[in-house]
Symmetry: C2
Subunit: 566 residues, 2 copies
């Protein structure tokens, strides 16, 4: 069940495109367009009692919603009527508005929606948002942690996406098991396949408003009919699958079975010389003086042996870190929060590129770090937690996954796409106020108006960007250069290219000009700690911004772990 | 100072080549030839008092040795007269014999040697062997652990050799700092450069007997004039250098200096595409279906930065493991004892090939091992010691060295020369008695008649092959296949090809049919331990050989460490 509408975030409304049905949205206008529609509906008076009357009894020419959507708003999947119960209030209100004004093309709903005034629509939205979902969201969310194979196409797209085609996982925004998130990302689980497919096609054809950041038209445009069919079938069937899974007990972890022949090269074939297409797994020459390009092995090629099991275990830890390594993760970030596409995506600090350049000397701690120590840093800083021992099974699994991702990559060679892009300095000095505006326009929808992230039913979906639940002051992402590079190359999710470099620098500055958990290396004072670890233009730690010295009011590092006594 | 001649090992004398001067020795005859000469001299009566008289006063036409070789037998380097004091008794006796019969061409010594009878030669040999060396062997030995660069050619050949040209390090047989070892490997330190050069040239020209296993003619044949000059100068100067070094205090360990830019690819250039000569560092295609060939980077290319310092530290640990990691090594083996040429040599389990195939599943312990765990196994089993923690600085340094050796090698790909060669089963079942004969003929000279190894002044030079100072029953080398592959490809040192596959299997069987430290995983009984860890044709542990159940009388694992309480 969702919470009520929160104070509307202060979106700038500097664009005002027309609202004609069938209109196509240039990406650059989309965000403004969405916020305009938000503004149009934000002031209606919602009355849940009125909503209930309308829903269950109808009014005048308006039939009772329940006649199609069910007495409890559970929908009628067989007929393609969607479930409304428990969807986000703002989302429902916007859809009614869009069906009324024709932006969302629905011959059945259009006359009904048009008959309702703004207050009635708002009331219906509130009523349905407060109705309990008929689904077992906990069981649905648990499905997100089940292993998945690329052959299982619908599940793969839902849980992993296909980043090579710029398709993020559906769950990435719609929550684990498609349970829906907040006011803007509706639940998909259990909606009829016909309904889901029709919506994706509507985005392809411009028959639905673009929604937040115009994400869905972009996503749908990258999907073909078979993708749509697979993913629609997956979510339609998911509540049944989840029930079965829950009945079968906890998700099975890969058991270590009988020994296989050791000493082999772990199922990787010998290096196959000869050129191949640019997207084929392996190393690609990028021309003289340029670092080679690398494509990690296909996810479907993890071998079916003991080694492969360890690779999959590492992949699961990478994707579900707080669940798989609860003793070590202090916030709710996954490895994949900063290393997109399960650590495969270039310019998103991909694991294959990191694997081949360690052990390496790090100025951060003044000595050569083996890979295990480098990973310990992630847990301690980015995950605001506690480092597992170098030989903890978690470390072995993560390194094995990285090693497999790096199959055939040349040892010790810097590959194209390694780390985050190093941007040249911005045209104008990075600025808090401009950054705040960028944040409101492009980031707050997912990460929350206060950078607090979003969770659903206790499951974090969008990571917090500052505050007690985010990475701490020792994390690489608190450095402006890293953050700007990551943001420009990867944010908003699947919408890289939307921001200018200046905007990336500005919003990186804004994000990192907020308080976050203390640097675990803190000693004596903020000033001394800054001098020792952060004495450069890349860190705002210890600087006074808007009258506050950053770091002076930080929650202690790994506070969550300490609270839980683990 | 050397011990007296031990009971002559029972060498078979199935060959009997002639002893003409200038005769060239086919390798296959050489060992037999040497043992024949040994047999000829073994029965003379040595009398140290008689030796002293001859040495200091002469006798009849024989001048006092001391007139050229000095009152204390220290030699006269300026004149090219070698030091005799402290050289091996058997070695001295053989040289006098060879100079007498003309096998060793020496116009000055020939008439003198001819004037001496066998008893007189034996007495002189004993006298000089018991004279104390005038050198500081401890200081000399310490020089072996100083870092060395390939540019320093003489030192490099002496301490590291040049395996690509089949040149083992001189120190490998002549002991650290060339202090000499046992009865057969004379001290080189402080001999005049002219004398050393003349001997190497004598071997090139067939003017000196081949000596043990005909090693020196083979070695000298691989050296050119500049090699000889460099290495002769190095040993001539070494006592002075050692004195200086000892005066300067302990060998300096590489200090960690100021931070350098992190995030670089550690000084390795980007992969340079395009073909290069077959011996150029990097990956070489070996044709379809064949694993790629790999050549590790030149030793001279270790970068001069913090990363490079760590590589060098790892290299030093690899070469001098008991000295650098005393808490963890229970016997006196170095990593380089089994991984020749500092882990660079193909078919000798080279480190570059190992690096790129870990993490890997190992049947030995039934799970995927990261590199650190694999290395821990070496310490625990092969070195009969205690595993350093996964994040011990020793482990980081070793992994960094391995990583650097693997520069540009493809991750996860099996390379040609990985591990030890997997031999097909021998034509005849491996046999103890045949193996014993092979051992006596080819191995005992260096490893001792009882496989006990050889040390000099407390410094181990030739590793023990069984008994309390060798690898334990858990080590990979106790497996017949590993041992046979290693021996065939690498033994005798620099003489690969001398043995047949059958001989390698036989001697591997003989070697591993002796008692050694207990498997540290021992539980309940030898039978139970065999069933659990050694239940196959590759291990003799727990089997009864010559009336003794192997493993039933093993010293405890890591007994040396436990004794020293570390």
């Amino acid at each position: 069940m969702r919470g009520a509408i929160q104070a509307a975030p202060g979106f700038p409304t500097n664009d005002s495109p027309s609202c004609r049905p069938g209109w196509r949205w240039p990406a650059i206008w989309a965000a403004g367009f969405f916020t305009l529609c938000t503004a149009l509906t934000a002031h209606a008076a919602a009355d849940a009692a009125l909503g209930k009357t309308l829903a269950t009894q109808g009014m005048g020419s308006v039939p009772a919603c329940s006649s199609c959507h069910g007495a409890q708003g559970a929908g009628t999947p067989a007929a393609g009527f969607p479930r409304l119960a428990g969807q986000g209030e703002q989302y429902l209100d916007e859809q009614l508005e869009a069906m009324a004004n024709g932006m969302r093309v629905s011959p059945v709903m259009a006359p009904i929606a048009k008959s309702l005034n703004a207050d009635q629509r708002a009331s219906l939205a509130r009523y349905y948002a407060t109705l309990p979902t008929p689904l077992d969201n906990a069981a649905l969310a648990a499905t997100a942690q089940e292993d998945v194979r690329p052959e299982d196409r619908g599940a793969w797209l839902a849980k992993r996406g296909e980043w090579g085609r710029n398709l993020p996982a559906c769950n990435q925004c719609h929550g684990p098991g498609g349970i829906g998130v907040g006011n803007q990302f509706p639940s998909l689980a259990g909606q009829s396949a016909a309904y889901i497919a029709a919506q994706l096609q509507a985005w392809q054809q411009g028959h639905r408003p673009p929604g937040p950041l115009a994400l869905m038209p972009a996503v749908a445009s990258h999907m073909d009919d078979s993708d749509i069919k697979a993913v629609a079938a997956y979510y339609a069937e998911l509540p049944n699958a989840a029930k079965k899974q829950a009945g079968a007990g906890a998700a099975s972890t890969p058991a270590v079975a009988s020994a296989q022949a050791a000493g082999s090269a772990n199922g990787n074939a010998n290096a196959t010389p000869g050129a191949s297409s640019a997207d084929a797994p392996g190393v690609h020459d990028a021309g003289p003086g340029k670092p080679p390009r690398f494509v990690p092995p296909l996810a479907s090629s993890i071998p079916d042996n003991e080694f492969g099991k360890e690779v999959r275990l590492g992949e699961q830890i990478f994707l579900h870190t707080p669940e798989m390594a609860p003793k070590f993760v202090g916030n709710k970030l996954n490895c994949a929060s900063c290393h997109l596409d399960a650590g495969r995506r270039p310019d998103s600090a991909p694991m294959w590129a990191a694997y081949v350049i360690y052990p390496a000397y790090r100025a951060k701690n003044g000595h050569v770090n083996a890979m295990a120590e480098r990973l310990q840093g992630c847990f301690r800083f980015s995950m605001d937690g506690k480092a597992p021992a170098a030989d903890d099974p978690i470390m072995t699994a993560l390194q094995t996954y990285m090693f497999w991702l790096a199959s055939k990559a040349p040892t010790g060679v810097k590959l194209a796409g390694q780390g985050y892009p190093k941007l040249p300095p911005p045209p104008q000095k990075a600025d808090y106020v401009r950054g705040e505006a960028v944040f409101g326009q492009f980031c707050a929808t997912c990460h929350g108006a206060q950078g607090e992230g979003q969770k659903q039913d206790g499951h974090w979906v969008f990571p917090a960007l500052w505050g007690p639940d985010s990475y701490n002051w020792g994390a690489g992402m608190h450095q402006l250069g890293n953050a700007a590079g990551f943001i420009l190359a990867n944010m908003p999710l699947s919408q890289a290219g939307l921001l200018t470099a200046q905007q990336a620098w500005d919003v990186a500055y804004f994000m990192n000009a907020h308080e976050r958990p203390q640097d675990p290396r803190f000693k004596e004072s903020v000033a001394a700690t800054r001098k020792r670890y952060h004495d450069g233009a890349d860190s705002l730690y210890g600087l006074e911004i808007n009258g506050h010295v950053l770091g002076s009011d930080s929650p202690p590092a790994a506070a969550h772990l300490q609270k839980e006594g683990s």
